[in-house]
């Protein structure tokens, strides 16, 4: 088998060196009843050609984003990723390297993590960021638990317009803890309901901006009120590119910023792997309660600058049952892709990209909003907004798919039984005027 170097001669020689007659002699601890007669009932080995064919057939049963006018968002976004990114992450030394526990031979990974942490902190307007979490939703969940530990309070208030998957992931992580999460109604465009729930038992408020419907929120007022009561403000984002044009959470009073980094460097990948971003202020209570890995700067025995994983005593491998989280991995290669893309973009590139996204969305809003019966619900948006249709949005999306348009996400998919005529649509720099025209025509056609 192409990945197994041993020949039968090798195996025999090795068994001899060990001093056993057959490989079965090394499995004698397996209970008799669990020993199998022969092979497990699955296909036997195949060459590259056969495997590639079978999986290619499966892949071709899907419609890829590049094959149709594509306007699907709601937490994952199609952006163009420069060729350099995918080339670099496939280098052996990045792809097949392990966690940098031996820093002397992992400076490549460690320095890129240090750069990543810095970029995330700058982007979110925060002081410090970790080396990434699994994704935005679990980063959000971990932020809620961190706020509870830091404030020693156990009430969390989440705005209903936070991505429902993020709300659910947070509820799951908190389920058997002392933390109780209350979720306000998703419909209102203001934060009044969140503010109304803040008292001195509140550990944190969690607000997404741009929210699930694409609406932008100013966090200044709610931050002022929350801080007066000793509660933390957790800002959530699902579209990292928005921070190239929209005010950063750290500049609006947020204590912790969490979100999804997928838009930068990481493709759609049907939902994963993605890259969770986690950043916070340099409050002395925070750093030791932050979950996840941290790369830190230091010097070696010759005085040379280098990087190591640090503050590891927060983590499971040392603190075990008292760890801040059980997390053991970070997003690794995805965080590398993110930092490479961000380096290629730089300030100029990111701010331009963000503006292009917003302008494309404005043009899309104009085109769709002018269809009779279609209303753009948002007063504000970045690159995603919500339409109120005269018809069931789920049905509309299926009909659009039939004519070869991937036209957004019906809000009812995320809020079962509610918002049935609302359609969430996203536009990015990858959408052309032709795409928009096709979408508008098709939408008009199915209504």
């Amino acid at each position: 088998m192409r990945y197994l170097p041993h020949t039968d001669t090798d195996r025999k020689a090795m068994l001899d060196a060990i001093g056993v007659a057959s490989i079965d002699d090394l499995f004698t601890d397996v209970p008799e009843a669990a020993r199998l007669d022969g092979l497990i009932d699955l296909p036997t080995k195949q060459g590259e050609l056969q495997v590639e064919r079978a999986l290619s057939a499966m892949a071709s049963r899907n419609i890829a984003a590049s094959q149709a006018p594509f306007f699907v968002g709601a937490g994952a976004y199609k952006h163009h990723i420069p060729s350099t990114v995918d080339h670099l992450i496939q280098r052996s030394e990045f792809l097949t390297a392990y966690t940098p526990y031996q820093p002397e031979i992992s400076q490549g990974t460690l320095q890129t993590l240090f750069e990543f942490q810095t970029q995330v902190a700058l982007l979110t307007g925060m002081d410090v960021a970790n080396a990434s979490m699994y994704d935005g939703s679990t980063a959000c969940a971990e932020a809620v638990m961190m706020a509870a530990r830091v404030t020693r309070r156990n009430k969390a208030v989440m705005a209903g317009s936070v991505h429902p998957h993020y709300v659910e992931a947070s509820q799951t992580l908190a389920k058997y803890s002392d933390v109780s999460i209350s979720v306000t109604d998703a419909a209102p465009a203001d934060l009044d309901a969140v503010i109304a729930e803040i008292d001195d038992t509140t550990a944190c408020v969690v607000i997404q901006t741009p929210d699930i419907f694409g609406r932008l929120h100013d966090l200044r007022e709610v931050s002022r009120i929350a801080h007066e009561k000793g509660a933390l403000v957790i800002a959530v984002f699902t579209e990292a590119v928005s921070l190239g044009l929209v005010e950063a959470p750290g500049n609006m009073g947020a204590d912790i910023a969490v979100g999804e980094g997928q838009s930068i460097g990481v493709g759609l990948n049907f939902g994963g792997p993605y890259v969770g971003l986690f950043a916070c202020k340099n409050d002395r209570r925070f750093i030791r309660q932050m979950p996840g890995r941290l790369a830190g700067e230091t010097i070696d025995a010759d005085g040379r600058r280098g990087y190591v994983l640090t503050l590891s005593t927060r983590e499971q491998h040392i603190r075990r049952d008292k760890a801040t989280s059980n997390i053991c991995t970070n997003a690794g290669l995805c965080s590398l892709a993110w930092t490479i893309h961000m380096t290629l973009l730089g300030e100029k590139g990111l701010t331009t990209l963000a503006r292009l996204n917003h302008e494309t969305a404005c043009e899309l809003a104009d085109a769709l909003g002018s269809i009779p019966g279609v209303e753009v619900v948002n007063d504000s948006f970045f690159n995603e907004f919500t339409l109120l249709l005269p018809k069931n949005a789920d049905q509309v999306v299926n009909e659009l798919a039939h004519v070869g348009v991937l036209g957004g996400v019906p809000a009812s998919r995320l809020y079962p039984g509610r918002f049935e005529n609302y359609l969430i649509v996203a536009a990015t720099e990858t959408n052309t005027p032709e795409d928009i025209a096709v979408f508008a025509k098709a939408l008009a056609g199915v209504l």
Binding site: R284, S312, T313, I318
Partner: protein
């Protein structure tokens, strides 16, 4: 002033009804470079044997246990910026907390210096 020791390597020095507590130089040596000490809040009540602090080195975190019952009256804030004091002067500037004793007789059950030295031999 009397100083006593626990089997878990805490020292306690008593002056009237206030006791100062820390970890011994032996313990600090075993831990390696101390990078952080997590201290409790002033006013907290402790029972003998309660975990009241955590000492962190780069690769380990060790709990510190209350040698007696009492209430925390002061904590050594200086350790936050200079945890190295625990390594440099474990029984002096590396102190952790001051406790108002609830029951001075509890000290009788602890080791004196000779017994502790034998314990760590």
């Amino acid at each position: 002033m009397t100083t006593r020791y626990t089997e878990d390597h805490e020292w306690i020095t008593v002056d009237g009804d206030i006791a100062t507590v820390g970890i011994t130089a032996y313990a600090a040596g075993q831990l390696g470079d101390v990078v952080f000490v997590e201290l409790p809040e002033v006013g907290k009540s402790l029972s003998k044997g309660d975990e009241f602090a955590v000492v962190e080195s780069v690769k380990a975190a060790s709990e510190v246990y209350a040698p007696v019952d009492g209430e925390i009256t002061a904590i050594n804030d200086a350790l936050e910026g200079e945890p190295a004091k625990v390594n440099e002067d474990a029984t002096g500037e590396g102190w952790f907390v001051k406790i108002k004793l609830a029951d001075a007789s509890q000290l009788d059950g602890l080791m004196d210096e000779a017994a502790y030295t034998a314990h760590t031999a």
